[in-house]
Amino acid sequence: MGDPVNAIFSSWSMPIGPSVGLLLALIFYLRGWLRLQFQVPNRFPIWRLLAFTAGLATIFVAVASPLDAFAGLLLQIHMIQHLLLMMIAPPLILGGAPYLPILSGLPRWFMREVLGPLLVWKPIKRIGQTLVHPLFAGTAFAASNLLWHTPPLYELALSSPGWHQVEHISFVFTGLLFWWPLVQPWPSRPVWPRWMMIPYLIAADLQNTALAGFLSFYDRVLYPSYERAPRLWSSSPLEDQGLAGTIMWVPGSIMFLIPAAIIAIRFLSPKPGVRPSEITGTRPPQSRAIEIPRLLRRIRLQPRHATGAFNLFTIPIIGRILRSRFFRRAMQASMFLLAMAIAADGFLGPQTSPMNLAGVLPWTHWRGMTVIALLIAGNFFCMVCPFTFVRDIGRRLLPARWAWPRRLRTKWLAALLIALYLWAYEGFSLWNSPWLTAWIIVGYFFAAFLIDGFFRGATFCKYVCPIGQFHFVQSLVSPFEVKIRSADVCRTCKTFDCIRGRETQRGCELELFQPKKKSNFDCTFCLDCVHACPHDNVGLLAVAPGKDLWNGEQRSSLGRFANRLDLAVLVLVLVFGALANAASMITPVAELVYQAQIVFSLPRTVIIALFLLVGMILVPGLLVCGAGILSRKLGKLSVSLPAVISDFAMTFVPLGFGMWIAHFVFHLFTGSHTPIPVIQRVAHDLNLPVFGKPDWTIASWAFPQLLDFEIIILQAALLGSLYAAWRVAGRYGSSTGRCWLLFAPWSLLYLIFFLIAIWIVFQPMDMRGTIMS
C-alpha cells in the first residue's frame, strides 16, 4: 500500500444498491436471452448479450472504480464518470434490445400477475411512448446535462452521497431515453424518419459543445468544492476544470457526430433492393406486426409446463436427510438431551438468568431461531420436537386408547393456555428464573407423556401444546408446505395410506387427509404421510407464503375458517399477544406497570394480568368486533358476524408474525453470544476444562441496522395483512366498491396495530437474557 499509484488503482468499492440492481438486470436478461435464443435466434444473436453486459459493466466501472473514489477531488475524473453514464452505457444497454429478454427472464407469476396488467394499461403505454419520443427524450437529456452542471446542483451532488446517486440515476435514465430513438431497440418502432436523427444528434452536440466550451474557457473555478479540494501532486483547479471541459467536448462530440455521420452516409447511399419505407422508417414492415404478438404469445401466454412446484426433497443430500426417519429420531433425541441439560442446569446451576442455560437458550435463542426457520422454511421445530420423543415413549408404556373428549376437540383450550403462558411469562418473570424455567420444561414433558400415553392420536399436539399452536399459526405464511405433488395421482388412489397408514407406517395422526389439506395448519412436519404414500406423491413443496389466509375452501380436519371461531380466537390471542408481550418489555410500559403497582397496591402478577386482559383481550376484542360489524354493514353482508370475524381474523397472521419476528430477532442478536460463557461455566462446573474460564464481558451481535430490519419486516407484515384482507373482501364483495367498503375497517385496524408496533420497536427494550438485564 506504500505506492500512491497502486493505492489509486486499488480504490474500488462495492456500492450495494447499484451492484444488486446491475446483477439482477444481468440475471433476468440472461435468463430471458437464453429462452429467446430458442424462440427467435436471428433476433437475439450473441452480440446483443455482449452489448448488454458491456453496458452494465460500464455502469459498474463508473460507480465502483477509482473514478468514483476520486470524482470528489478532480473534476476531470468526475467528467469521465459522467460520460460513461450518459454516452457509453446507455447505447450499449439498448443494443442488447433488453425489453423482451428482461420481461421473459422475470418470474412467470410476476410477469403474469404483477407486471403484465400494468404494461398493457393504456396510461402506462402512453407514458412510455411519450418518454421515448425524440422530442421529449432529447429535451430531457439536454436538461439533465445542463441542470446538473449548474454550480448549485453540482455542489449539492458533491456534498451529499444521496443526491450524487440521484444525479447518476438521472444521467443513466435520460441517456437511455436519448439513445432510444437512435438505437431503436427491437421491437420498438421509430416515430421519426431515420434522417431526422441527424439534426437530433447535432442539436445534442450543440448543447454539449456550449457547456464544454464554457467549462474550458471560463477563467474562474466554477465549482467551489474543487477549489477547496486538496490538489494531488500539483495541478491547479483551473487546469483541472479546463481538462474536464476538453473531455466533455472532444469525446462527447465524437459520440454524437459518428452516429450522425453513419446515418447520413446510409441515407445518401441506399442499398439496392431495400424498400424506401424501410430507409425512412416511417412504416414498419407488415410481417413485424404479426411477428411480435406471435412471439409474445409464445414466450408469455403459453400454458405453463406441468413441472410442479419446487420440492425440497429433490435437493440431493438435504432431501434425503430430511426424509430419513433416523435423522428425525436422532434430532428429537438430541433436542431431548439438550432440554434435559437445560432443565438440570435450571435446577442446579446459578439462579442468575444470563449465567444459566435455562435463562439463555429457551427464551432467547430457541425462540429467535424458530421464527427465522418459520420465515425462511416452515415448521421445522415440530419436526424435531423433543416432546414427540417423550410422547412416543408414553404411548408404548401407557394404554393410549381413550378418545379425547369431543368438547375439547377445538382450539379454545390452546388459546387459553397461550394467554396463561403469556401472563405467567411476564407475571412471574419466567425469563429471569432458571428454576421456574426448568419446572416448565419438566412439566411440559410430563403433560406430553401423560396426555398421549392415555389418549389416541396426536392429542397433545393438536389440542393442547401452546408451542405447537404458535408454530401452526405462523407457518401459515411459511414458504414450504407438506402437500401432494399431483392431484391426478390422488384421484386414482384407493388405499388412502396417507391418513390410514399401513402395517409398517402410520398415517397422519393429526387427521389431515393430504388431497384436502390446504395449509400448514395442524401439520407437524412429521412426514408420516410422505413415508406412507405408496405413490411417493407427497412432498415438501414451495408455496406462495400466506396464500391460504384468504382461501375460503373446506379443509381436511379444520373445515372452513369462517366456521372456526375458536381458530380465530387462537390467532387473535397470538397476534395481539405479540404486541402485548413486546410492549411489556419496553421502558414506558414497565414504568406504567410499576406505577400501577404503587398506586393500586396490588402485586405485579395482578397488574400484569389486568394489563394483558385489557391489552390482549378486551381492547383487541372490541376493535375486532367493531371492524366486523362495520365491515358487515358497509358491505351489506348476509353472513353472520362470527363468520366474518373468523375469516378476517386469519388475515392478521402476517402482522402478528411480523411482530414476533421483529421482537425475537432483536433478542436473538442482542443476546447472541450469551451461550458461550454459559457453556464455559457449565464445563467449568463439571470440571471439564475444555473451554477455559467463562468470559462474561463477551460482546453481542447487536448492530444499528437491526432497527432497519425491524421496520422493514413490520412493513412487509402490514402489506401481507392488507393484501390478505383485500382477497377475503374480494371473496365477499361482488363489486370493487363493496370490496373497498368491506376492507376499509380492517385496514384501519392493521394500521393502528402497525403504528403501535413501530412505536414499540423505537423504545428502549429490556435486554433479557443478557448480563445487562
Binding site: M1, G2, D3, P4, A7, S10, S11, W12, S13, M14, I16, V20, L23, L24, I27, R31, A69, F70, G72, L73, V114, P117, L118, V120, W121, K122, I124, S159, S160, P161, R228, P230, L232, W233, A309, A542, F666, F669, S700, A702, F703, P704, L706, L707, D708, I711, I712, Q715, A716, L718, L719, T736, I758, F762, Q763, P764, M765, M767, T770, M772
Partner: protein, 193 residues
C-alpha cells in the same frame, strides 16, 4: 425457482460484503500544513449530527503534494468544554447493548473507505455541541498534530432519521392500487362505437 433462489443468495452475499458506504471524503473540516505534512481532514455527512460520522484524512508531502501512505494516524474527539455537551445522541434500542466507544486514540486506517489514499475511521459523537477533533500523525521520526472544531447539531428525531425506510409500504400500496386499476380496465374494456 432455482434461478430465483440463486439470485436471492447472490444479492444476500453482496449485502453481507457491503461496508460503510459513505467513507469517501465529504466536507473539508481542516486544510493546512502541519510540520512536514499537508493535511486535509474530511467529515461525512457534511452537516454533523450527534451519532456516527465518518472522518478521513488525506496526508501529503508538503513539498511536492504527493500522498503519504506510510504514516500512523489516530483521531481524538473531546468536548470543547466539559459543560458544552448538550443533547445526548439517540441510539437504536439494540445499540444500547454495546458500550460507548472511547472517542480518543481512534486508529485511522488506509483501507477504511473507497479512496485508498485516505486514512479514516468511523467516530461516534455522543452528543450535540462543540467538539474538538484532533488528528495525531506519526511518520518515522516526524510527528504532527492538527485540530479542528466541529459544530455538532442534535440528531433528528428517531422516526425522522428513518423516514426513507417508511417509503416502502406506501410505494407498494400505490403500485398495488395502480395494478388493480390496470386489471379493472383490462377486464372491463371501454365500449367501442
Amino acid at each position: 425457482m432455482t434461478t430465483m433462489r440463486a439470485t436471492f443468495l447472490l444479492c444476500w452475499a453482496l449485502l453481507s460484503v457491503d461496508q460503510m458506504a459513505w467513507a469517501d471524503g465529504g466536507a473539508i473540516q481542516f486544510q493546512g500544513d502541519a510540520g512536514a505534512f499537508r493535511a486535509t481532514l474530511f467529515t461525512q455527512p457534511p452537516i454533523l449530527h450527534a451519532g456516527l460520522i465518518d472522518v478521513t484524512l488525506l496526508l501529503q508531502d508538503r513539498s511536492n503534494l504527493s500522498p503519504l501512505l506510510d504514516a500512523k494516524v489516530t483521531f481524538d474527539l473531546m468536548p470543547q468544554e466539559r459543560n458544552d455537551v448538550q443533547q445526548t445522541q439517540w441510539m437504536p434500542p439494540a445499540c444500547t447493548m454495546n458500550k460507548t466507544v472511547d472517542p480518543t486514540n481512534i486508529p485511522a486506517n488506509l483501507g477504511h473507505g473507497e479512496n485508498r489514499l485516505l486514512y479514516g475511521n468511523v467516530v461516534q459523537i455522543p452528543a450535540s455541541g462543540h467538539w474538538k477533533l484532533k488528528a495525531i500523525i506519526q511518520r518515522g521520526a516526524e510527528t504532527a498534530e492538527i485540530e479542528t472544531l466541529l459544530n455538532v447539531t442534535p440528531a433528528p428525531l428517531p422516526p425522522l432519521a428513518y423516514w426513507h425506510l417508511f417509503l416502502f409500504a406506501p410505494a407498494a400500496i400505490l403500485g398495488f392500487v395502480l395494478h388493480q386499476l390496470a386489471r379493472a380496465r383490462k377486464s372491463h374494456p371501454a365500449p367501442t362505437r
